[in-house]
């Protein structure tokens, strides 16, 4: 079934077309949800809610851009809404205690499994993880992130910086990234 046929069927609430669209995009979208969720069950709940929204709002898709991109945006927004409903990003580390940043040279990447990277991302605190997912992977700007999460743009930037550092530490400790030479750069972080 082509994408056009699936879309046409979904507009008519055709079950076979909906199932085909779900089968095509659900594996990757569940991967997206898994990066935001606490566990697999929560990720599946987010996916379920997301696809119900997709099928309900399929008439709003204007063929501007790829269908997968449109679906992905709805899934990400659904994940954020679920997280906001359940938790208020209160477990972020206080940025006033931030110290000098260690800027590393390009890390030597060994054979990295996608799942390993994702599992390391999930080890981050919820606030760091969410901002990193939205900025580095989903491509949202800090302003958009601030609007989505009801935080300041500067908070988003700071959280992202610390999330990245923390993630690199985790990847190195788990030997997913090789330990590079370090260049220490003294940077004052706004208190």
């Amino acid at each position: 079934m082509t994408e056009e046929q699936m879309l046409a069927g979904c507009l008519n609430n055709n079950a076979a077309s909906q199932e085909a669209l779900y089968a095509r995009f659900s594996p990757r979208m569940l991967g997206v949800c898994y990066r935001f969720a606490k566990n697999r069950e929560d990720a599946e709940d987010m996916l379920q809610e997301g696809f119900i929204k997709i099928f309900s709002q399929i008439h709003q898709y204007r063929n501007e851009g790829a269908l997968e991109g449109w679906i992905r945006r709805i899934i990400v927004h659904t994940c954020i809404n679920v997280l906001k409903k359940n938790k208020k990003f209160s477990d972020c580390v206080d940025i006033s205690h931030a110290q000098g940043l260690h800027i590393r040279e390009e890390s030597v990447t060994s054979i990295i499994q996608a799942k390993q990277v994702v599992e390391c991302i999930r080890l981050l605190p919820l606030g760091y993880r969410t901002v990193l997912n939205l900025y580095a992977i989903e491509g949202y700007s800090h302003r958009e992130i601030g609007t989505l999460l009801d935080i300041e743009e500067s908070t988003s930037r700071s959280q992202y910086t610390r999330a990245k550092v923390m993630l690199e530490d985790i990847l190195i400790k788990k030997r997913i990234l090789s330990k590079p030479k370090e260049k220490k750069l003294l940077t004052a972080i706004a208190r």
């Binding site: 079950a15 659900s26 569940l30 991967g31 697999r40 990720a43 800027i103 390009e106 580095a136 690199e168």
Partner: protein
Amino acid sequence: MERRMNTDNFERMLREKADEFKMYPSARVWHSIYNNMHPGRRWPSLTMSIVLIALLLLIGYTNSEVAPDQAGKIADNNRSFDNKTSINGRSVIVANNIKVIAAKESSLSAKNTATTQPVEPIATDINTQQSIYPNRIKAINTAELNINKVSVKEHTSNTKTSHTAAVAENPEVTKIIAVRNLFDADEKDAVENVVIENNISTAKKEQGKFGLQIYAAPSVVYGTESLEDNSSAQKPSVGLEVGASMQYALFKKIKLKTGLQLNYTSYNTQGYQNPDFDNSNNLYAPVKLNNETYQLSLPVGVELKLLGKDRLHWDIGATIQPTYVIGGGNAYTIASGKASYIKESSMLNNWNLNAGFETFITYKINGLTWQLGPQFRYQFMPTYNKNFIINENLANYGVKLGVSKVLQ
């Protein structure tokens, strides 16, 4: 600049790896989405189960022992009769205005001593309302009949001693055989016994406690997997369960059961070849693989009767099933890092443990008890040992049909 490049490379790596990452949702996610989008079209098996249960209830109702009109008659008779006696704890309707005029000889001895007194009816058949006369009753071998001797009450009238006899236990009386006056010493040789045959209120035969059952249950098998690698997904397939069991009626509503059972489980795994191995334009080439096992189980469990009477019941049951895998085991494993599927049966867990839960309607006819209802079976331990990349616990959803017979 260098900092930005390092940042860009790191972010690029994160994006690439995140995009490669896939997970396959369990079947319940799609079921929930489907039910939400199509609320009027619930799973057809549910509709069929409801129709089947309703049909069985209707059959049971129409075949129940006492029809409503007869039940009404019984109630009326019970209220109108003054005399009641109890036989074996059941109340017996005693007919009013039935008098026995002493006959000088017993009809069972075939003597027929006529008296000058008019012969009056000794009883009335409640069904047909026909009068029964003692000298017209033929001798009947009581051994051939299932008869209840009823107590005879003495009823004193104005002019003579007359005796009433308990006539019927319920309106289903079919025959009155003879009458004996047990209280009139002068006439005891002349009056014969009146015994009443009741086709329905016979003493219950001593029921056997053991029963034998055979059953079959087609099912759909799901794998509840947790994947270490994201390159495969399981699709449900068909399974079958057949078996025989011995049942022991521990109490009136509880039965213990055990037996032997053979299960066939099957599900399909959809694999995707790694891009490095695929020369086509598609990132992943799907591959469908079949995993199947043959299992021998020793189910041990209990059945509980919830509702019902006589022929139609509603029961529930549960079993624990130690299981041994006797065959099958098409295991597909991923070799050294990338998705290259090989068939490997040595990673089977030969011993396993399953649990079964069922609810069913039973209907008894011609000495056999038929049962039909949904069944759920869950496998506690993974099918394959820890060397296999997929840890799955199989779940079977099926419909069980069985027939059992009480062993006398």
